[in-house]
């Protein structure tokens, strides 16, 4: 099976999001099959991985779902835990361990956090935003739950490739910022296209009586961006990285407010 290797009783799959291959091992082959389906389009066939996580499935009823998310760093090791999972990860060795329920969405959360931690060091970030590529450029539509991220994605015309309707992946490269597809979806319940393109702009969403685009500049742009960037760790140095990244980003990429009527006409403005 592509992207899957057998090693004794332990099966694995390499999931590559944002050019970062992560091997996920589990001795439950049914769970690996679940992951192959969950991350379809993002499963690497090369077998190479930058990081390696071993997943231990907790028996039903042994994990409480009530505990809030906690992300802490101690002596270079990250500890990520919530009611439905506990993970520890040592970036310097590239290895980690996850204890979770069989629900693959618990793993989604761990992967999102791992990516936010790695991206922060490289000037990138994950953002509460839907995104799509049109005419070779990526457009990000950001906002809190209910702002219209999924609506915009649903209304995308056939010539637009939807990268995600929920969590956008932003990387910094020498020649600017790029958006990449993710398997993280919201109400659209569809895995994003595994594509990438330079970012044309970020649109802060607002529903209104007419379609219009207004520039958002300076501190307002930074505020709009920081309000939607995912970051979980309360480590001061990490927060500073994200803060600086937001300033860098708005100095390179236009931020605009998109007020829209929820119908296909909004895409006439997005070209």
């Amino acid at each position: 099976m592509p992207g899957m290797t057998e090693a004794g009783p332990c099966s694995s799959v390499v999931v590559e999001i944002g050019d970062l291959p992560i091997r996920l091992r589990c001795d439950d082959s049914a769970f690996i099959d679940l992951l192959l389906e969950r991350y379809a389009g993002y499963v690497s066939t090369s077998g190479e991985a930058s990081f390696d996580f071993e997943i231990e499935l907790a028996p039903p009823g042994t994990v409480s779902g009530d505990e809030d998310l906690s992300v802490t760093c101690d002596s270079g090791r990250w500890f990520i835990q919530r009611g439905d999972f506990r993970a520890k990860w040592n970036p310097s060795t590239g290895r980690g361990r996850i204890q979770q329920t069989i629900n693959p969405y618990s793993l989604d959360s761990v992967l999102r956090i791992v990516h936010t931690l790695l991206l922060a060091r490289k000037g990138g970030f994950l953002m509460h935003a839907s995104s799509a590529i049109r005419n070779g450029r990526a457009f990000l539509f950001s906002g809190v739950s209910g702002a219209g991220k999924t609506t915009i994605a649903k209304l995308a015309p056939p010539d637009a490739a939807v990268l995600t309707d929920e969590i956008s992946y932003v990387t910094r490269e020498n020649d600017g910022y790029f958006a990449m597809g993710t398997p993280f979806f919201g109400e659209l319940a569809r895995i994003g296209e595994n594509l990438r393109a330079p970012i044309e702009g970020v649109y802060l969403l607002a529903k209104g009586p007419e379609n219009k685009i207004e520039p958002v500049e300076g501190a307002d742009a930074v505020r709009g961006l920081l309000g939607n960037i995912l970051f979980f760790a309360r480590d001061p140095e990490f927060v500073k990285l994200v803060f600086d990244t937001a300033f860098e980003f708005v100095s390179h990429v236009p931020v605009r407010r998109l007020t829209f009527v929820p119908d296909a006409s909004v895409w006439e403005l997005i070209t």
Binding site: G218, K240, F247
Partner: protein, 106 residues
Amino acid sequence: MSCKRYVSRSTAIAARMLGDEMMVMSATSSTLFTLNEVATVIWEAVDGATPLEEIVTQKICGRYDVTPEVALQDADALVKQLAEYGLLLLSDRPIEQPTCSRKVNL
């Protein structure tokens, strides 16, 4: 204020000037604050070694049309408020500045 107040910026913050606004983020709460012009002058002047009264006299009274008493009262209220959010440290003695910071190991 009966005794001298020394003020220092917390190390658990990130701050940047953008246009004429100083934006400050608390690393502990991830809350974002925007300081106005006068607050920014005080923010940039606090060094842990210069008493607040001296900062107000040197940086505020000469620049703005305000009496030293009112300026100090306002500055004192400001630094107390920012200290409550964890952005500033207050002391009745000079505050030693950290010489290095830890890097995130990723």
